[in-house]
Symmetry: C2
Amino acid sequence: MSKLVYSFGGGKAEGRGAMKELLGGKGANLAEMVNIGLPVPPGFTITTEVCSYFFAHGNQYPAELRKQVDAALALMSKRVGKNFGDPSNPLLVSVRSGAPASMPGMMDTILNLGLNDATAAGLAKLTADERFVMDAYRRLVTMYGDVVLGIARHKFDHELEATKQRLGLKFDNEVPAAELRKLVATFKAIVLRETGKPFPEDPVEQLWGAVGAVFGSWNNPRAIVYRRQYRIPEHWGTATNVQAMVFGNMGEDCATGVAFTRDPAAGEHRFFGEWLQNAQGEDVVAGIRTPLPLDRNAGGEKSLEAMMPECHRELVTFRDRLENHYRDMQDLEFTIEHGKLWMLQTRTGKRTGFAAARIAVEMQGEGLISKTEALMRVEPDHLNQLLQPVFDPNDRKKAVAEKRLVAKGLAAGPGGASGKAVFSAEAAEAYVARGEKVVLVRQETSPEDIRGMLAAQGILTARGGMTSHAALVARQMGKVCVTGCSDIVVDYATRSFGTPGGTVVREGDPIAIDGTLGEVMVGAIKTVPSEVQRVLITKTLKAEDAPVYRIFEKLLGWADEVRRLKVRTNADQPDQAAHAVAFGAEGIGLCRTEHMFFGEGKIGPMREMILADTTEERQKALDKLLPLQRADFTGIFLAMGPRPVTIRTLDPPLHEFLPHEEKATAEVAREMNVPPAKIADKVRQLHEFNPMLGHRGCRLGISYPEITAMQGRAILEAALDAREQGVEAHPEIMIPFVGHVRELQLQAQAVRDEVAKVFAERGKSIPYTVGTMIEIPRGALTADEVAGVAEFFSFGTNDLTQMCLGMSRDDSASFLGRYRELKIYERDPFETIDRIGVGMLMRIAVEKGRSAQPKLKVGICGEQGGDPASVEFCHMIGLDYVSCSPFRVPIARLAAAQAALREKKTPARLPAKKTPAKKTAGRGATPRRPAAQVRPRPARKAAKPAVKRTAKKPPAKKAPKKARR
Amino acid sequence: MSKLVYSFGGGKAEGRGAMKELLGGKGANLAEMVNIGLPVPPGFTITTEVCSYFFAHGNQYPAELRKQVDAALALMSKRVGKNFGDPSNPLLVSVRSGAPASMPGMMDTILNLGLNDATAAGLAKLTADERFVMDAYRRLVTMYGDVVLGIARHKFDHELEATKQRLGLKFDNEVPAAELRKLVATFKAIVLRETGKPFPEDPVEQLWGAVGAVFGSWNNPRAIVYRRQYRIPEHWGTATNVQAMVFGNMGEDCATGVAFTRDPAAGEHRFFGEWLQNAQGEDVVAGIRTPLPLDRNAGGEKSLEAMMPECHRELVTFRDRLENHYRDMQDLEFTIEHGKLWMLQTRTGKRTGFAAARIAVEMQGEGLISKTEALMRVEPDHLNQLLQPVFDPNDRKKAVAEKRLVAKGLAAGPGGASGKAVFSAEAAEAYVARGEKVVLVRQETSPEDIRGMLAAQGILTARGGMTSHAALVARQMGKVCVTGCSDIVVDYATRSFGTPGGTVVREGDPIAIDGTLGEVMVGAIKTVPSEVQRVLITKTLKAEDAPVYRIFEKLLGWADEVRRLKVRTNADQPDQAAHAVAFGAEGIGLCRTEHMFFGEGKIGPMREMILADTTEERQKALDKLLPLQRADFTGIFLAMGPRPVTIRTLDPPLHEFLPHEEKATAEVAREMNVPPAKIADKVRQLHEFNPMLGHRGCRLGISYPEITAMQGRAILEAALDAREQGVEAHPEIMIPFVGHVRELQLQAQAVRDEVAKVFAERGKSIPYTVGTMIEIPRGALTADEVAGVAEFFSFGTNDLTQMCLGMSRDDSASFLGRYRELKIYERDPFETIDRIGVGMLMRIAVEKGRSAQPKLKVGICGEQGGDPASVEFCHMIGLDYVSCSPFRVPIARLAAAQAALREKKTPARLPAKKTPAKKTAGRGATPRRPAAQVRPRPARKAAKPAVKRTAKKPPAKKAPKKARR
């Protein structure tokens, strides 16, 4: 740990863009911007290793740090031509966090460090602008008080608001210098009162306090929640950036702004930014004032283009240079100080699923990235957004006619969301816990609101623009969002908001927000299927009228070209099956016959069968069920055409089909014409202490082989019927819950014996297979034996997880939350396959199964089959297919493609149109572990895999960093 | 399959004793007896391979069989000098089954084959004894009708009884020739009536019918039950022995008898047999007539010694020769025909656990066998019998005084048993299913009674001797048994028996039988501990007055010399711990703390803790529990002395400590002074769908680390207290239900942090370890990670089995019976470790655990830890210890010794005193599989392992036999 501090500025940088792990995203990009010739205020970055050291050593810094910081500070002073703490020519600095993965708003920032009474006076003299200096000073005391000293921010804000009220002012920048000076004094008094110590006047003490607070903020609860949500490993740590201040708030020739190189909500290819005159950067992001557009055609005379044309022109140049350099949509920050444009940050921009797909497809079209890169740019889960419903245009029209459209704001997160209005994160979580849907309404959002945003259907803010905290986070979460809706007046005290028309919406009132149009309506609005659904499922829209669908189609077409895994669906009904096929399903991986038993007219015979006292009675009931099951299966075969259909024989414990409440029992008894006591007795008799490990799965079929025989008959008769209707049905019969090869032998025999009769009766035979679920650890461990009988395997990872981990899915809620907090299981093992434990059983099963039967077809039908990380794992261990719910089929297709691309280890990047090939030479993709070593890698921010996995890494990593992988 | 038939007789035999697998036990021993020069009626054996072929080919014989049988029949005829079916000089034969493992009474036998009207007439002429011939003829028709033709035996017996009643006769042998001739005609009429076909007159047809019936009887339900009970593989099959008849019923110079070379009940070294004059062998075994003793000093003038002194002398010689040859206690059958002694069978004699231990120890003392052989001669489970209670002498005296001693019989199975009298196997099973204990009372027993005998505490028969079916089977099962109690009159019709004193005992009346004294009492009798217990536990008996104890001690002393596995006990109370130490426990492998919580004064604070709403409240309740737990642990440490004590932290789900019924809830609420609703709410809140996979084990400690801390404190404070009392306590703290190393890390830390405080407070520290249960598949699969933290492993095979097999122990009853019938699991996996599945997880865990920590101590504390087959498996996979309930400690010690001896693969046999070394040369022990291949071997009859595993096997096996292993 020799080099702890990396300097940049004056056209030179010690770091570079590829050093994100060491310098954090912000620090690496500052260095990179310097390297490509953009104007960046000088500064230095303290590495993430210092952060790790800090936590590993009881919040102590490495001994060498102070010297290196001193040297970097001296170099920065030289570059800027000012001195830290020098009243005659004071250097002011910002201190910001910068983690390897972008965590917007989660880490704390302090500006204007270096101000004290002496330097403030000196600076006032130098700038001849006391108002500016005092404004900076009061901001410093506020931020320092809040972030370093832990004083509630509202204590400062309250004083500022009181001053504004007293003076009748609306905006902070209207408060005069003298009042600001008084405020600084008041703020310092607050500090003394709250902490018992005066505000530190020593700039160096300020600096170290700020550095410690930045590192410390890595472990604040908000950061922890965010990391958990976005699966960012805790051990990465954050870097700290110390940078010379430039001021957007020194007068009317100053400004600050943020921009996206493309529209982050819809993905449109246009420069998209916001600015504020005479303001500091935090003012834009924090949403205190609603900012103005950059371009004239969006903001007219209030635009940057109109008001500062030179700076605007330069900024547009920088935008092109950055996008061509990074070859991805960038989120950038700038400040104009007395007409001079400074770049403060660039990073890969967060975007919605809509935008991610569109930008990826369009950049490929522009020749900026390859198809492969385009595929890697879209997080599979984000495709969900393209499938989510939007507001029904007719219902919206009706709402407008009824004058329920009460306000308009910025369309910050596309889609339509209805829910009860709530005004705090706590309320949002409480309503949701009761099963209600909510829209979170805030003046503006801050990191404290993250939990509430997660819980809500949508977010509505009164302040803040397209790049405000609310907008950024909502887009990343894929939430519907309307920001900057200055029409509404939010009152937290009464938990309500008022609209220009006089409507008052109180907590619990239903509202609807349209994040595509920026509309706010009272009352709920009906939704209609997404464009993709209307094209593929309801066929109410033509592809040529559906630009979102065309992007979807193109992207998934590329995915299909590269993926090796097949994607099937779990479907029990013909309509589900048809939808899945429309979404690209290549077969059914799991058709649960028991769902059919609950259908009309079927539960009666099913109950008769369960209540039967003799095999004869049972057979009578089964004879009634046979034609019903056959019809169900025929429907499925017709929907699936020639695609394989895996049908599982009866699985759940029989008591699930009987009523358990007294009233229901009486009713069923009447219907079935049996004494209620008979039903109650049967329920008692079937009661189990641990039904998950009880009389279910093939154990039922072994106890009552006639059930299995009936199902085998129904399946093959249906397949023959379908063939008579011209559909080449391919049935695969799957025996569940096999732990011992003999169970499968017996059940397979029961099926084959009955099917032989069917073939004889119909005078025709067709191919079919009998395989098994691998869902009991013993089945996996003895897969070589099982594969001696099974014609295919399908992993039932729900049960396999329950048994491998000894964890009942239905009961784990009481401790799994705590387990995730304690990092025992970082991800819910029922959502994402536990690669170490369950994954080991899966690998054993694949290996042993194929040792006995080299061409054994192996799939997965557990619910993790639609989870991208699990799809990747299934690819790695050589499965033939994954199977998931119909709506996750597109996600699985993309995830399978990404898994295949990652495995290839080729530089997932073609020479870009505008980037000389030389620039990327020697920066090949980081070698990946071979597929056999399938320990889960800590997933770096999945939203920008291309950056992680392509040319941005140094070819060799330093040893101490190794632990991070 | 070239040689299907092996001949013997006339001093020559094609087979030999070592060929049991091929010729069955009976056939091999007949050949062996011929080889060692004993007089055996000539005959031949059809091999077990023919039986296997028969079942594999739809009850067809191999083509070559008839020719070989014809040849063997011809050779036998030549040796005997008679011809089969020749009226002028007819040869009569017996056909008997003979499986590789002895299955007394389970297989069917037919005697006197070859008789028809013509040969009967011829034989009557030849023997001048029509009564004898007609007696043989009516037996043939009866047996053939029963066994081959399936006619209920009582139909024949009824006619015989009617004749005897009409003539006023008591015994069968009093029925005159003319009546017997009539009976033969009547019996043949029965055959015609019942089957529609006449009794076959053709002797060859008779022979083949009998052979088919013998093979077929291998799969009769009784045989299947027996095989399941004694774990005899179904694929072995039976051989069929065809042998020239010799007759014990041809007059007063004829006799038949059975004998044991030593007392099979108590093991005493004395010749022990019974005989009947003028009778066939089946008469003795079937218990129809109560037979007479062999020796004069046991039977006086009715003894064989008195009545046929020459034959007796010769028999005693044969007895010595057989015991020296076989070097084990033999069960032999003989017949005397006109004064000539013939040996019909010898086999290793079944014996009680008492006898097995005594014979083994005494034969070692006599130099007949080695210590190693002695150890292998006792089935570990049989040691139970030496520990079982016997009747309290005072209570017995009281019963005698009250004139409740109502009958006396033969002491056929030692021990005392009280229970309700029942008169059929069905009744026995029905009572036992209701949780009641029964004594099965029968006129005599037959194989149909096996299930009832299994269910009963003891067996009482009115007829039959020490070698009757009842006595043999009871001894093998270790049941208390009184046979030949001719004092009682059993009436099945009224389900009662009468005694000489006029007492009538009806079904359901309590009776008591003493199998050591042969006494029958009405009413129950109290029991007292066994001799071993009185010496070791209650210390009410001195070793020198306790011969059974001395044998026990000697045998287990030898076991301790050779075993490698340590044996610990599962004990939660100081008295249990002390008993276990007396039985040889070398530590505690599992002390369940939760059992202590149910103790006096503890459940209250425990419930307070569960109902606590805050950590503070919980801590208050824990503070109350601490001194109680500490006192418990101190008691255990004092009892265990310097032996290691593994204490498991809290494991069961918390709801188990709360009342579930409304009334109990109200009561507890009153006691605890809380509203009942609070308790009910908590119960609801704690309810789980699958509690086995729920919030339990270390999950509790992770949710409430203060519980773990309290327990860690209590354990170490107790250990320090014990040390202050001079006992060097060795605590080992075991964290249950670990599936992820991080769980263990957190819990181990909670323990270590608290223990550090204890050490600081007490100013003293002692060594202790923190380890884990391996009971979740994931824990086993990631054992390398877990072993990075754990200081020891202990397999919790109950839970491991549940999760590996996906089978809830509490719920498996509904299908496990069927599973065993279908041979899915041949043994209950909760009794005996499933070596393939669960065993694989165990091997993985041992291997991975030791890869991370080569000296890792690994034990087992699941209930299979006291099961001999499981102990063997634990030895094979290299465990350090097994832990079982206190009373199974001796069993585990012996099982561990046997496992070690089997592993050694050395010929487990020293040259025997009277057997020339040459005789055994070249017949070394069969090589065993290496320990790594731990697939369960089909266990050959475990009662005689020495025979199986020493010099009785041919050094190389023929290829076709290989499948049998």
